[in-house]
């Protein structure tokens, strides 16, 4: 980056600043070696370095420069390339002036946040444009690399010594050999002797890996590279151009396991990475608002990422997954008895329930409870989530929306529907259920099934709710009350102008029958029994990390012990069998 100035005396100078690796090749004069060693020392201390150089231009040279730049600026094709070439030509034969070093302090609690994320099972990668030494020093400062982390380098220096192929193979042998032996020995307990690996890669090496080759071996290199990355606990990519940052995010997104990626940055050079990742977060910082403008979420400080992911992200996921599963469940409960009824009505599409019930089921009777659940549910309290990041692993790999969980909910819905329908069928079958000997018709039958169903699905949600605010009480009991009141009103008034009287007095007649009440109690209990059983047994036999935390909180309330751990516990890293 350069600027051309004219002094008061009419002399024209060109001043240029940039990273040391781009300035030094253009310099022909100056104390190069001295400044180079000084820059290295600064970088190792974690300071961000720049070099400054200059040269003097004569009038003809200046004219030539102007012409060159003008031609490039008005070019209709490849303007960027022509401009870059023009600058290449201008910025050479410079005289080195010196170097600058700036201390870029870490934001408060950055180290704490990164540690929490790693405990939560999130892989943290640092993508930066800085030199390798500066970036490594910063990573040590923010505890991305710990004291016992073994650093593997995939840098230009190494690739110059061996070919890319050899370097990759050697690294993969180191890393994968270790993790291979890990699973075989099946270690358990504390992991004081588990080896942490950290990978350092720079932009040039990355472009070598990503370069498409004629022999098709580029995909092999990419796979090898991703395998190495997967086995490392932290990855540092330095000397990254903004587009390379996006490239690496894309590479990870489409790798074997299709992980969900989140990119957080605060400068304009992070914008492409923020746009590429699944979730982009911009830090509104000193470097302007470019990143925040292009992001999905903007936060004022890096430390806010911790609560955002571990608390809000966790809550949101639990709420959304329950919403989706519950919606399918309650509609299976709703429609399956109608389907079963067709076998008993000659397949003539006679509805089991009255049209008012059909219309209002999803709108009025069962909508508010799940809506308020998905806004307010806190299955674990906020403090526990913030204090114990490993609880985030409960929801890793889309745990609550997998096929297994969905099939469980569907089977529950089908089981419940069978219980409702056949329970009512056997109660009604060919006999009277009133004490005055009169017979009920098909609308009473359908209303019985519907009443049992509304109560069951609402009580199922009540069983799933673990955070009962006054609002939850209001909507759950209120929905049930509304159902009863609506039924009484709908069946209690003759609507002659609607030519619609088939529900007249049906609900009240149903309630005047003793066996109908007993059937409602029985069928609701039988429908909810498997789920209650499963919850209690799973809580005993296979508790999730959150449940264990809750148990510890209530069991050890008297003894206040803050668990300290230097690294992730091995048993938390091994895949847990899912229960919920």
């Amino acid at each position: 980056m350069s600027v051309i100035v004219k002094s008061a005396t009419g002399e024209i100078y060109l001043f240029c600043k940039g990273a040391d690796s781009s300035i030094f090749p253009r310099v022909i004069e100056g104390k190069v070696d001295q400044i180079r060693s000084r820059v290295e020392r600064n970088a190792v201390e974690g300071l961000r370095t720049l070099c400054v150089a200059y040269k003097r231009l004569t009038q003809e040279e200046y004219g030539g420069v102007c012409q060159l730049l003008q031609a490039a600026k008005v070019a209709l094709q490849d303007r960027e390339k022509k401009l870059a070439e023009a600058y290449e030509q201008i910025e050479k034969d410079l005289i080195l002036l010196g170097a600058t070093a700036v201390e870029d302090r870490l934001q408060e609690k950055a180290a704490d946040t990164i540690e929490a994320l790693q405990k939560a099972g999130v892989k943290v990668w640092v993508l930066t444009g800085d030199k390798m030494e500066t970036a490594a020093a910063t990573c040590y400062a923010c505890r991305l690399f710990r004291r016992d982390t073994q650093l593997l380098e995939l840098t230009t220096k190494k690739i110059e010594e061996q070919t890319l192929h050899d370097v990759l193979l050697e690294l993969s042998k180191t890393v994968l050999h270790y993790s291979g032996s890990l699973t075989r020995d099946n270690l358990s307990g504390l992991s004081t002797d588990m080896q942490d690996y950290g990978l350092i890669i720079d932009g040039a090496a990355l472009s070598l890996i990503m370069k498409p080759r004629e022999d098709g071996s580029s995909s092999n290199y990419r796979e090898l590279f991703l395998d190495i990355c997967r086995s490392c606990s932290a990855v540092l990519c330095c000397r990254m151009a903004p587009l390379q940052k996006a490239q690496i995010v894309k590479l990870i997104k489409f790798s074997k396991e299709h992980p969900i990626t989140l990119a957080i940055g605060d400068g304009a050079n992070d914008v492409s990475m923020i746009l590429e990742a699944h979730v982009g977060i911009g830090v509104i910082g000193k470097e302007g608002r470019q990143a925040a403008r292009n992001s999905d979420y903007a936060v004022p400080k890096f430390k806010h990422l911790k609560k955002m992911l571990l608390v809000h992200g966790h809550f949101y996921y639990v709420r959304i997954s329950e919403l989706v599963q519950y919606f399918f469940y309650k509609n299976v409960c709703f429609i399956f008895p109608q389907f079963l009824y067709q076998f008993f009505c000659g397949f003539s599409q006679q509805t089991l329930y009255d049209t008012a019930y059909l219309t209002l089921y999803n709108i009025s009777f069962t909508s508010l409870p799940i809506l308020l659940y998905s806004l307010m549910e806190q299955h674990v309290s906020i403090d526990v989530l913030k204090r114990d990041p490993s609880l985030y692993r409960d929801i890793a790999k889309n745990a609550l929306l997998r096929w297994r969980v969905f099939i469980y909910w569907t089977f529950l819905g089908v089981f419940d529907a069978l219980v409702f329908f056949f329970g009512a069928y056997f109660v009604f079958e060919n006999t009277t259920v009133t004490s005055n000997g009169q017979i009920f018709g098909n609308w009473t039958f359908g209303t019985l099934v519907f009443t049992v169903m509304v109560f069951t699905v609402t009580l199922k949600l009540a069983l799933d709710t673990r955070y009962w605010t006054w609002i939850n009480h209001f909507v759950i009991w209120g929905s049930l009350l509304f159902y009863v009141v609506f039924s009484l009103l709908w069946g209690g008034i003759i609507w002659p102008f609607l030519n619609y009287q088939r529900m007249y007095y049906v609900f009240i007649q149903m309630l005047s029958s003793g066996p109908a009440w007993l059937a409602i109690v029985l069928l609701v209990t039988v429908s909810l029994l498997p789920d209650v059983l499963k919850k209690v047994l799973c809580r005993q036999l296979r508790p999730t990390a959150a449940e264990r935390a809750q148990k510890n909180v209530e069991g050890k309330a008297s003894v206040s012990a803050t668990p300290s751990s230097d690294g992730p516990l091995l048993q938390d890293l091994l895949p847990q069998p899912r229960c919920d």
């Binding site: 000659g346 509805t351 004490s435």
Partner: protein, 353 residues
């Protein structure tokens, strides 16, 4: 960083308990120590209820007699033979003899039962006109299109009551005769035909059109009877309070049944000498066999039943409660075992820590 309560920025979010998710809440834990007592209590309660229901159901008596007249049973077979070609000749009657070995505790309820008759078929069950049956004179002569093809009669007159449900009104009639011991003449048992339909159906939902010059027949002038009816609607019964749309048999029939095998109340036996019940002896039901069911392989039965607070004989509820109660107790024991075992294991783990 300290926030000043007075200097709120324009972008600062609300800091209330609701918006910051700090509402006070009850956080129950469905642990084994809560669920176990609940399971045991529920199991015991259900078993108690189940025993009560089963005992009650067992004490209810029910007798069924099939009088369709298929060739193997032989009763009413003559009428059945005629039915095979179409409707049996009007007033074909037959008798159904049975004997009661012991006293049948009253009041006894008399039902007729039909099988394989889909009153819950959709096209059938929409085929009626509620406005007409409510007695509005304007609707009486303009039956709705849903009633087709039983909407207008052969002469173009509107049918009252219109629709397939009304047209298929059950028209067998029964009378019960008791042979006085030792082998005396048969005496008719009085059948109470009132109060067999829902009170609200009879008195609110179904209303006759207003009388014209004090006559119901004139109120129905200009309408025709449904094709299968032998008599028009205002002559359904000699009793002027029980004829027209408010005829009890008609109202009972119009309440469409839920399942293809259903029964409907015909009469109660609770008058005169038989108010306490039916004594043992020989009985005969005289059937006026009008209703053709052979065409759709249906069957017709008469049912005598006593009624308790839980209705007719239905062992299902009692058995279901017993089964669920025992399941609850069984799972309670299983959970107790699991809980104790894992409690010990947890205590070991805790003591190791």
């Amino acid at each position: 960083m300290t926030w000043s309560a007075t200097a709120r920025g324009a972008q600062q979010p609300d800091n209330t308990a609701f918006t910051q998710q700090r509402l006070p809440a009850w956080q129950p834990l469905l642990s084994a120590s809560i669920a176990l007592p609940l399971f045991f209590c529920a199991g015991l309660a259900f078993i108690g209820l189940g025993l009560g229901l089963y005992y009650t159901s067992n004490s209810i008596k029910e007798l069924e007699y099939d009088y369709t007249g298929s060739l193997d049973t032989g009763n009413c077979s003559a009428c059945a033979e005629a039915d095979q070609d179409g409707a049996p000749p009007p007033n074909c009657s037959c008798a159904l003899n049975f004997s009661l070995p012991e006293f049948f505790q009253g009041p006894v309820y008399f039902y007729y039962e039909l099988s394989n008759f889909y009153q819950n078929n959709r096209r059938y069950s929409v085929s009626c006109d509620n406005a007409q049956l409510s007695g509005f004179p304007s609707a009486l002569r303009q039956p709705v299109n849903d009633c087709a093809p039983y909407q207008y009669g052969a002469a173009g007159l509107p049918i009252a009551p219109c629709g397939a449900i009304a047209n298929s009104l059950f028209n067998d009639s029964f009378s019960l005769w008791h042979e006085l011991p030792p082998s005396g003449p048969y005496v008719e048992v009085p059948l109470d035909r009132t109060g067999i339909a829902w009170w609200t159906d009879n008195h609110v939902k179904f209303r006759n059109p207003p009388l014209v010059n004090g006559s119901l027949a004139l109120a129905f002038s200009g309408t025709a009877a449904p094709p299968s009816w032998p008599r028009p609607v205002y002559e359904l019964s000699p009793d002027p309070n029980n004829t027209g749309f408010v005829n009890q048999d008609f109202v009972v029939w119009m309440r469409t049944a839920a399942l293809p095998t259903f029964r409907k109340l015909y009469a109660r036996i609770r008058q005169g000498n038989y108010s306490a019940g039916l004594p043992r002896g020989n009985y005969s039901v005289h059937v006026t066999y009008n209703y053709p069911v052979r065409a759709f392989h249906g069957r017709k039965l008469v049912v005598f039943s006593s009624i308790s607070w839980m209705g007719g004989k239905n062992p299902f509820l009692g058995i279901a409660y017993l089964v669920v109660g025992s399941l609850c107790i069984l799972t309670g024991f299983v959970m107790l075992v699991v809980y104790i075992r894992y409690q010990d294991q947890d205590d070991e783990d805790d003591s190791d820590d």
